[in-house]
């Protein structure tokens, strides 16, 4: 089922990218990043079935990084919301030049 897994993974990753590009709510953009991480995890697990269990170990590390990223990212969003009273990314343009 390697080819099918790679197909689903590619579609999920693309949906995540399109979500990041089309949404302005910071939290939804963040969840789209999680969706992309999940798509990559599916690739890892699919390859692990054919090429050895190291892929599954790597999924573990990806999940750890995702947890750390979620903690810090959501803290940043909360700090941002306290400061600007919005999570709309089009209002957060301090670095826009």
């Amino acid at each position: 089922m390697l080819a099918e897994s790679l197909f689903f993974s590619a579609v999920l990753f693309t949906i995540g990218v399109v979500g990041v590009l089309t949404r302005r709510n910071a939290i939804i953009v963040f969840m789209c990043v999680e969706l992309m991480l999940n798509a990559v995890n599916l690739t890892f697990v699919a390859f692990a079935q054919v090429y050895g269990v190291a892929g599954q170990v790597f999924v573990f590390f990806v999940m750890t990084v995702a947890a750390a990223e979620a903690a810090v990212g959501l803290a940043i969003i909360i700090a941002l919301f306290r400061h600007r009273h919005t999570v709309d990314l089009s209002n957060i343009n301090l670095l826009k030049g």
Partner: protein, 185 residues
Amino acid sequence: MPHNELPLFYVFHFYLFGIIAVASAIAFVTRKSPVAAALWLVNTMFSLAALYVLLDAHFIGVIQVLVYAGAIMVVFLFVIMLLNLGHASDVGDARGMGWKLAAGLVGLALLAQVFALTKVHVPEALALPENAIANQVAAQGAIAPVAGPLFHQYLLAFEVTSVLLLAAVVGAVVLGRRGERVDVG
């Protein structure tokens, strides 16, 4: 990968959960309300857990439900409710037509690239014998095949992960602190 004929039951469930995952992901990016979006994403993650189990990664499937759907998404829902973002804003938060068009083009280009990548040939010699992982799981249980390499071959990476988590916790506490400004540098 040459594989023997898989049972129809297996193939049916693989496609079923794959299609549920993709459909939930599409519902997730199109929902206006953040809470609805988060719940659709949870549905995607459950389907992915089912796919992991079908791919002989039972333990990863359990961890997917516990950690991803259970812990990470609950934190997301906490923040959505803490910031009172549960209602869909009247305007909606989708960007304009230009952005959508650009995103569609980027998405198509990306999809084409990824599909080109899946055509890459990996040397046959690298592949394990047929059903190697499934046999390993049958012989040692679901956890031992993952735990073995994790605590031997990848022990250093595992230990470094603890430093990463500590840094993330400290960072989250510092960022989430109310009151005085945090001076950086």
